[in-house]
């Protein structure tokens, strides 16, 4: 066991060690959380423990869009009010949350679970691109919206998918790349500024 966690009683040090493995939690935060949990009523800690166990027991990937879900198909795919002719392609399940928050998109999603990254040896078949093409072949899709991250790997992945989808006669669009709201021209990088200038829109 890590000597950093030793001075406490054994169950406590075990909890500290586990919390310390979480992203953004250092040894000091882990200690604080552990002692906080110690003082919380037992039913609250049980709720937390059960919630953690439940995500591993009940969750799986939606067989259609590969989003993380507890029902198959997932809530979005099963929702009859959504536009089934448009698919928005994202890198990770977590990317769906901010897009849903905008309430600007009422279509369906497709989660790739990664991006093509030649330097790390991540190839198209390591992602769920095949499943996307299957969906396109079997359904009446009119638009695929590529919403991968605007960085080297995300762009490469989008260009690759565009090449596969365009020949099917389906419209392929890419999320606009431009200036972030609340941002500052002075600090914008050149790629963003170039794209923002290219993609400028008439004010009406």
């Amino acid at each position: 066991m890590n000597p950093d966690f030793l001075p406490s009683a054994r169950p406590i040090s075990r909890l500290i060690e586990e919390l310390n493995k979480l992203p953004g939690i250092g040894p000091k935060s882990a200690q604080r959380l552990a002692y906080h949990l110690l003082q919380t009523p037992p039913e609250r800690t049980r709720d937390l423990a059960e919630a953690i166990i439940a995500i591993k027991q009940n969750l799986r990937l939606c067989s259609t869009c590969l989003n993380i879900t507890d029902t198959d198909p997932c809530g979005i795919c099963a929702d009859g009010t959504r536009d089934t002719t448009r698919i928005c392609v994202v890198e990770e399940p977590i990317d769906i949350l901010p897009l849903e928050r905008t309430k600007k998109f009422r279509g369906l999603y497709h989660v790739l679970h990664g991006v093509i990254s030649p330097g790390d040896g991540i190839k198209p078949e390591d992602l769920h691109i095949r499943e996307l093409l299957d969906r396109l072949n079997s359904n009446s899709i009119i638009e695929v919206i590529l919403a991968t991250n605007p960085n080297a790997e995300g762009e490469a992945t989008s260009m690759y998918i565009q090449r596969l989808v365009s020949p099917l006669g389906i419209r392929v669009t890419r999320l606009a790349r431009g200036l972030p709201f609340g941002g500052d021209l002075e600090y914008a990088d050149d790629v963003t500024l170039s794209r923002a200038m290219e993609g400028r829109q008439e004010m009406s």
Partner: protein, 269 residues
Amino acid sequence: MAARVYRTTGIIIKRNKFGEADRLLTIFTADHGKLRAIAKGAMRPGSKLGGNVELLTHSQLMLARGRNLDIVTQAQALDIFLPMRDSLELMSCGFYLSELVDSFIEENVEDREMFELLLDTLRRLTETGDGERMVRFFELRLLGHLGYTPQLQKCANCDRNLRPETNYYNPAQGGVLCRECGYSDMSAGTISVNAQKVLRLWQRSDIATAGRVKLSTELAREIKGILRDNVRYLLEKQLKSIDWLDRLAGDSSLNCDKAVTQNSNGSQE
């Protein structure tokens, strides 16, 4: 004591996630060689580092010395090679170049010549849209710079002048072998007269001249196979991005690599 903050320019050749929103960059700098540094908050939208420390950007950098890793305090892109980013082929060449440099170059050793070569290659690739030849030229020059200049004038084994004919090539011997020496060398593959000519020319020409050399598809494949074998021999591994490059180039070039191996197998008989 060295200054706490220093300024340099560099090309970002690798970047990993680090913590929640930070990036661990591998930068090939002009003055300090390859180094690793943290770009804090670079993954947040609106970060003033963000796009200025993106993969394969040439940037002006301010770094602060840290206990383990240095920290990027300011970054301003000098060249973003925009046309490269709009082309899947060119960007893939870029991925390959960055992996190549990261694999061969030692950390914290100043290497201005290599830095300039990488910068020139990226610029040329962006201007001409000709990824393939630029990458080959880069590979050949990289080998030379590391002290593995392929021997192309004389037989690498018996030192006799090479006749203008199909000879053999073996990276382990350090270059071209004459027919007599090559024939009995189990691990040597053949090299055509034209491939020998192109490699000789590239060894002494600048990048602009190198880009003007016309290569038939067949010759381009042959040279690709030879230089790749050489790189693989020196690294003792296959670079990860090669699979991807082959896939993009289509099945034909995958066959070409097989042809090269078949050649070397052929000479075993």
